[in-house]
């Protein structure tokens, strides 16, 4: 089966690497006085310097990592995997918009809503997709 618009299998490991790498960078940055630009949007920031660079190295590194994990091919990318992928994507969009609508109504903090919107679909997609594949593998090993 042709699987267009997906990253090669190894990108999954690169993605986890980037997502995990964001944690120490974030911790070290904050220890050195950096702040999340979404926490204080009143400050004027210069592009590609200081806090803006720190934001790119953390939030965007994490997002890129999750994106690669979510859209890397499976070892055998067949039509059932495609169906699970589409189904998980549908659920993640539902959940994302539900959270987005609730937060737009009840929370007056657009910066953090944006951050939430950046991660929720990807994280929910990955969890749901991997869970269904895990269950498939489990039923396979049960039947021998």
């Amino acid at each position: 089966m042709k699987s267009r618009f997906l990253f090669p299998y190894w990108c999954r490991y690169l993605g986890w690497g980037l997502a995990i790498a964001h944690v120490p960078i974030s911790v070290i940055g904050r220890m050195n006085g950096m702040f999340n630009i979404l926490d204080d949007q009143s400050r004027n920031l210069s592009l590609f310097a200081g806090e803006h660079l720190f934001f790119m190295c953390t939030a965007l590194l994490m997002t890129l990592g999750l994106f690669l994990v979510a859209f890397a091919k499976e070892k055998i990318e067949d039509e059932q995997i495609w169906q699970i992928r589409l189904d998980s994507l549908r659920w993640s969009i539902y959940i994302n918009y539900l959270i987005l609508i609730i937060s737009l109504v009840f929370i007056n903090d657009t910066g953090h809503i944006l951050e939430l919107n950046l991660w929720v679909p990807l994280i929910f997609f990955i969890i749901r997709f991997r869970w269904i594949i895990f269950r498939l593998n489990q039923s396979l090993s049960r039947e021998g």
Binding site: M1, E74, K75, D78, E79, Q80, S139, E143
Partner: protein, 66 residues
């Protein structure tokens, strides 16, 4: 839709893995089709029937509720 892939496999004496390899899908997919958890596409159904040398409707059958 039900199917008798398991029976056909037993007649031909091939494993789920062998069938999966011949039609180019994973073993999980063959297992899901056999246990009626997944309905294959027409292309995949035709490929599976061809492996057994049978007509499509000898391997896959519609059920009352379909």
């Amino acid at each position: 839709m039900k199917n008798n892939i398991r029976v056909e496999r037993a007649i031909k004496n091939i494993s789920q893995g062998d069938l999966a390899e011949q039609v180019g899908v994973s073993r999980q997919t063959i297992n899901s089709i056999e246990s009626n958890k997944y309905v294959p596409s027409t292309v995949l159904a035709l490929k599976i029937s061809r492996v057994f040398g049978k007509a499509l409707e000898d391997v896959f059958m519609l059920e009352e509720e379909d």
